[in-house]
């Protein structure tokens, strides 16, 4: 048999990006995309913890109608902060800035992103934005809901001004990451890495970056206008000052609907990677999946009005937005079918990341299909702003994005930290997350279609049992995350050493050592077809996979 070859062999034994340099400075001033990825990872997980605690408090309050543990104003602040923290500090940067930062250059075969300093700057902006949010919490909190609808947000005397500045700054952090990824993918691809040889996660991150760069400025302008209205009393949105409150909703959703895809597209990219790796066969329908990411990015700009079917928007506008909304469902459906087809005739193994991929299909399936009820005008009028919506977007945001994030985290964990986690506990907690999530949110669909409005502190007795069921589910979910935190922390210090390719992944990052050396690749890698599994073989000695390189890959086609 010819010799096993991997890029890992070129690095000095034991030298990697984690022990390449030492001290706080080497972390906080690092230009290494991998370390910046870790800075992001720690920050977003902290935000996730905070947002999760808010969620559990909210669910506890809802155990009974009226007061359970807090008054109405505290409750209103908590659900606002839960939403704002989860969306702006966790989900939006979650996959692109944390996982994406780490794996994008590796998957591409590059040594870093195009603008390492911009990359570091984006993390600092994130941090500053997050501090603004903390400041707002410390100075009395915000009670507007994460959507900051006017004129409520201009009239309330809670800390809206500081949190909107925070959101403004966070927007720039997101734009910087987007620009960086676009340029990196265009400019730093090795010669042999053509567009259609790129792993699908990179297509997804590319599409995401386009939305980040084009849509986020609108959010920036919107919150800035809100800030001006609030501080200087310039009438833009507040009818008392001659403004138009519905205009605010258009501005806000012009960003925030595409933002839904800033969140879900990278998640879909991760899921594509998971399905192909754990099916141990090439992904089915590469081009359809790649093009569907781009299609989603384009159409996502044209559907914002579906958040406003009952906003007094005209019937004609409602009709157009409803139609376009149904169109955006198609690329997602294509992906789901292609993922299913990828399992066909595969050799499926079911390690923890694959369990997350399967649970994604189930949960995102429900999240996507319930979107049909909301895209259709007649039913949306009834379901809008009820718990049906709450359930729907949790199925998409949690059942989709967070589940994919967790799948990706477990998938790349050995690569990032060079250590394995306990597989049994991984599976147990994946299962508990799945059960806890469904218990919490499924019955919210029913509660919502029965008429329970969202953002309600107090509720009519009729809904009590639904709420209590949800609350129990949320505790189960919290418990599952507790288990996860324990075994992941344990892995950091005590985990078995990870081989370079523990799962049999076909993409480039599995060819570097775990953890990767400082400069990723000693020489620019030669890239063949995307998802080429030939030559990846199981090595029982190390319980991992090795790639055998028989012949050098064919030269790339001239263009594509």
């Amino acid at each position: 048999m010819s010799s096993y070859q991997s890029n890992a062999g070129h690095a000095e034994a034991g030298a990697n990006y984690l022990n390449h340099s030492h001290g706080l400075r080497s972390w906080f001033l690092t230009l290494d995309h991998k370390r910046i990825g870790i800075l992001y990872l720690v920050s977003i997980l902290t935000a996730f913890l905070l947002g999760g605690i808010f969620a559990l408090l909210v669910r506890t309050e809802l155990w009974t109608p009226a007061e359970t543990i807090m008054d109405a104003d505290t409750y209103n602040k908590l659900f606002t902060l839960h939403g704002a923290v989860m969306i702006f500090l966790f989900i939006i940067p979650g996959i692109p800035a944390a996982l994406g930062n780490f794996v994008l250059p590796l998957m591409l075969g590059a040594k870093d992103v195009a603008f390492p300093r911009l990359n570091l700057a984006s993390w600092y902006l994130y941090l500053i934005g997050a501090l603004f949010s903390l400041y707002s919490i410390a100075t009395g909190g915000v009670d507007t809901g994460w959507t900051f609808y006017t004129p409520y947000s201009t009239e309330t005397n809670t800390s809206v001004a500081s949190i909107t500045l925070g959101v403004f700054i966070l927007g720039f952090s997101s734009i910087f990451t987007g620009i960086n990824f676009i340029v990196t993918i265009h400019k730093l691809r090795p010669r042999s890495m053509t567009w259609f040889r790129m792993p699908l996660l990179l297509w997804a991150l590319y599409a995401t970056a386009i939305i980040q760069v084009l849509a986020t400025p609108v959010l920036g302008i919107t919150v800035l206008l809100l800030f001006l209205e609030k501080t200087l009393g310039i009438g833009i949105f507040n009818p008392a000052l001659g403004g138009d409150p519905v205009l605010y909703q258009h501005f806000f959703w012009f960003y925030s609907h595409p933002a839904v895809y800033i969140m879900i597209l990278p998640a879909m990219g991760v899921i594509s990677e998971l399905f192909t790796t754990f099916s141990h066969r090439p992904i089915f329908g590469y081009r359809f999946i790649a093009y569907s990411s781009i299609a989603i990015a384009v159409i996502s700009f044209l559907v914002w009005g579906h958040h406003m079917f009952t906003s007094t928007q005209s019937g004609l506008v409602n009709t157009i937005f409803s139609f376009l909304t149904f169109l955006v469902a198609i690329p997602s459906a294509i992906k789901v079918f292609n993922w299913l087809a990828t399992m066909y005739k595969g050799s499926l193994t079911f390690q923890t990341p694959m369990l997350y991929a399967l649970s994604f299909l189930f949960l995102f399936g429900i999240g996507g299909l319930t979107g049909l009820f909301l895209g259709a005008l007649a039913t949306d009028v009834h379901l809008h702003d009820t718990y049906f919506i709450v359930a729907h977007f949790h199925y998409v945001m949690f059942g989709g994005v967070v589940i994919a994030f967790l799948g990706g985290l477990h998938y790349w964990w050995p690569k990032i930290f060079g250590r394995m986690y306990n597989e049994t506990w991984g599976k147990i907690s994946a299962l508990l997350v799945f059960i806890g999530f469904n218990v919490t949110f499924f019955n919210q669909f029913v509660m919502g279609s029965q008429g329970m409005p969202r953002r309600y502190y107090n509720y009519v007795d009729q809904y009590t049992s639904y709420h209590q069921y949800s609350t129990v589910g949320s505790y189960l979910l919290g418990f599952a995350f507790l288990i996860m935190a324990v075994y992941l922390l344990h892995s950091l210090f005590r985990g078995a050493k990870a081989e370079s390719n523990p799962w049999g992944g076909p993409t480039l990052e599995w060819e570097c050592a775990s953890p990767p050396p400082h400069e990723n690749f000693a020489e620019t890698p030669q890239v063949g077809e995307a998802y080429d599994f030939s030559g990846i073989e199981y090595d029982p000695e190390t319980d991992s996979y090795k790639k055998r390189r028989a012949v050098p890959s064919a030269p790339p086609p001239p263009t594509s």
Partner: protein, 341 residues
């Protein structure tokens, strides 16, 4: 078999064979003529979704069992398909046609509810934090929406402060109520009875208490009710009429009558007392002061409170102010007796 049909019907919004029904697993009772068409759209989407969801899950489960690897050694299967243009085109086009169908059905259901019939009876709706006010053509204002059965009702709605949203689950009806503009919606109630009204656009502290009812009257009953109700100032003793106004016009939202401070000071026992004002002066509460507090609340602001009381200039007639004053006085005269507000 019957059981199965029963379960399936329970699961969907409408009973497939019935047009009029009570609460089902998914949906509240159908209280308006428009409700059943919404439920039909819901059912249609429900079954389409169930079909695709079942398809996804079944295929997933079958593949998971059929193609699981035995051990970690991977059997390389030659000829694994990497793509199949026709198949992929099929699962692009077919869902596309289906969703266009759903779009169309949803649109039809929506258009049915969008245009009020010409003979609709009009009620003005005013939303304010955290209260609904319904003004009838004769000028009478009530805190609940009373309507005759079997007659189309058009609502013309606006808000005094922030955005609210008018939602009646039993009617499958929802429309935002926006300050500075008028939104319209309509319905026709099917049977006499009561239906819950919620506010569904978040509006602050009392958002979840911004409730009201639709009271649907028997044929003929509505007109009688409206006549009696409109004359309550004449028909009732002044203090009682004042108490009704105090409830209906939203004073109770901010003022308690049991001594607890709310957004505004309690009105219990204030008549005849002397209160410190924000500007340092003090005022003895008499008829004129109460009148001024109602018409020009910011003229004298009670110390320790925000100047948030809205003016009722042009909204309360002299006669009405007089009975409210009588009510506030009654809260002093006889101590505990009239505290049922």
């Amino acid at each position: 078999m019957n059981l199965l049909i029963g379960i399936l019907q329970g699961l969907t919004a409408g009973n497939l064979l019935q047009t009029d029904r009570g609460r089902t697993f998914w949906m509240p009772p159908q209280g308006s003529t428009g409700a059943s068409s919404v439920d039909n759209v819901f059912d249609l989407i429900f079954w389409i979704s169930m079909f695709f969801f079942a398809l996804i899950v079944i295929v997933m489960v079958v593949f998971v069992f059929r193609y699981r690897a035995r051990g970690r050694e991977l059997d390389s299967k030659p000829g694994v398909p990497k793509h199949n243009f026709r198949l992929e085109l099929a699962w692009t086009i077919i869902p596309l046609l289906i969703v266009i169908g759903i779009f169309y059905v949803g649109l039809r259901g929506f258009l049915d509810m969008a245009v009020p019939p010409a003979n609709a009876y009009e009620v003005q709706v005013t939303a304010q934090r955290w209260k609904w006010l319904f003004t009838y053509p004769n000028g009478y204002v009530d805190e609940n929406l009373h309507v005759p059965v079997g007659r189309p009702i058009q609502l013309v709605m606006t808000s005094e402060d922030v955005i609210h949203s008018f939602f009646v689950p039993d009617f499958r009806l929802k429309m935002d109520v926006v300050p500075g503009r008028y939104s319209k919606t309509w319905f026709e109630a099917k049977n006499p009875g009561q239906h819950q009204i919620f506010c569904t656009e978040y509006c602050g502290t009392g958002h979840s208490d911004m409730l009201a009812s639709v009271v649907v009257h028997e044929p003929g009953g509505f007109e009688r009710w409206l006549e009696d109700a409109a004359d309550f100032i004449e028909n009732l003793p002044p203090a009682e009429a004042g108490q009704m106004l105090y409830q209906q016009r939203g004073c109770a939202q901010c003022h308690s009558v049991d001594g607890r401070a709310g957004i505004g000071p309690t009105l219990k026992g204030i008549f005849g007392q002397t209160h410190p004002m924000q500007d340092g002066s003090s005022v003895t509460v008499d008829e004129d002061y109460i009148r001024e507090s109602i018409l020009d609340p910011q003229a004298k602001v009670v110390a320790g409170y925000q100047p948030v009381m809205p003016t009722f200039q042009g909204k309360l007639k002299d006669k009405e102010i007089t009975v409210i004053i009588a009510y506030i006085k009654s809260l002093t005269d006889s101590g505990g007796e009239q505290e049922e507000g």
